[in-house]
Amino acid sequence: MSTNTIDSVDVFLQGEKEPSGSWVFIVLGLVLSLSFLVLYSILYPGQDLPVISDLMPVFKGVFDSGIWFFILGTMIGIFAILGRLLLEATSE
């Protein structure tokens, strides 16, 4: 006895209509992140938020500002677009 499981999973489906429930999780995420920021300022008063070089000392003297989080985020976005272009251009 064999079951063809490939047929049932080879199509990826993604809905276009946004479910109203998803907003709850986004708001919850925002509230949580704000709560953590407040908690951080209570636990470590007067201390700036950690930057990349605090988390990874190998980058000390390079990524010493919070702006690098944002710049790296943008670079990921740009590479996602370039990657998409390359993939689509080379796919059959």
Binding site: G61, F63, D64, S65, I67, G73, I78, I81, R84
Partner: protein, 556 residues
Amino acid sequence: MDTILSTMFYFWITLFVVYFLVQRGLWIFSDVAKGTVSFMLEKALGPGADLVEGRPGAGARSWIMQGALWMIFASMFTFTSMWLTHDPDALHSLASWGYTANAEELAAAGVYATLYGTVSMFIIGCSFHIIPKLAGTELASETNANLVSFVWTISVLVLVIGSQNNSILGIDVIPLGVALNNVVLLAVIMNQLLTVANRTRNIATPGWLILIALLSSPILAIVSIVSGAANDNVGQWLTYHIFGGTFFFAGVAGVALYASSIASGNPLWSKTLVGVTLIGSIFTINPFGDVDGQMVMDAFGPLADNNVIPFTNQDMLAASFLMALVSIPVLAFSSNMLVTMRGSDMFVDDPDASGNAELNLGSWLIIPIVIGSLFVQTDTVSGTNELLGISNSLSVMAGWLVLVPLSLGAALSLYPELVGRHLFSQNRARWGFWMMSGGAIFGLSITMIADFMDIALAELLVEDPSILSEELRKVGSVMFYGVVIGSILHSLNMVTGMFRGNLIPKKSVRTSSISVESYPLVSPTTIRRILSSGADLDTEVIPTGENDEKGSATKL
């Protein structure tokens, strides 16, 4: 005569002569001119023409996609400059590569990337689709339109580099970029004029808004240099604002008005209001943008002088009066857009169409931002300079809350027709809109509050910088990062949509912006099809008589 009125007078006369020539042709030289321009656009390119495709819509598509990619860099430069305002040493590590990041220079790079990279590319890209449609013909040269888009991108790159270091090996970089830019613009104008020369019907007024926008740029440059306006700060200020009013405002208004009809499925509400927008954009001074003409001086390079003279009383009066009059075309444009998008019968062909939200946002926000800019510019012209501190934030607002949304909205509305596919995801387009608009509104408003605080402290002669103002600038710059994310989402959506977006059916014909007076009914049809032909509730449906009698030979 004073600088303002005399320069504007020369500009109006030259523009009128060019308009007359476009309408009437060049007498017996028309055919020779057409042949020469056609040769220059296609054959004269030589092997360069083989580098790109010349399929219908390729030119417009190329300009719009590059405009979308520039949007990411434009928002990123602006964000970085906002961050460096409160944290000047944030990018000190780049000094080891020989680059010293500076808030002012990055802001200038942001302005060039926003205005020339994003807004201009969207305007020109949309115009390559709109003008042939309105003229009832094909674009004269798709190959040329496609090819020059890449040269334009190089020119924007040169401008961005020039904003960081204007003199490389003793050569002024910004004038070089502007010269390259104008060569491309000339090719674009030739292409469009040749298309207009082959028109099969009268061009609707939004088309003239776009043509006047394109033509005004070289005309203004010549008038400004010949009349000597480029040699002093008053003339440079005027040149900057006429350019903003004609090229940017008229161009954006033209593509947005056309797209409002396409996006909503409604015919354009009022032809008179479009005419008022067109006349107003030429005869008034647009207050958007900087309070000085530094960009003009940088652009003209050795052709401009650095004379600093105060505004005379006559100049002050003329400038203030002509700036106040700008409320007429702005209100005409905004009301026409908003009513068109809602429609006289609340009929919206596709309420989820991408671009609708952006067009709505730009049409609403143009009014408060133009009023704010009017106060700031009048304050500068009169020499009071009390509101100088908020001029930068307001200028960035005009870019990211009016010009970019309107031009992006138009590009998104035309996207399905140009690409043959829908955007990859409507949901992602919605997220892009909310991130961009939310980031720009909150980020720039909070920055403006910090500006006001600094102005108040400066008036009270407080020397220590305010901690609260600095904190607000931090929050403002972080919120503005939403614009960067929104730009990435939009660009990714447009790029992916080219390959994987849902195909649009061939029969899906969108409405034209011209309302039809009557509709001849020759066979049974649906109400949707009648409405999609441009008819509205006032259109007369005339059944065309048919009979089944057998035909016979015509008697001579």
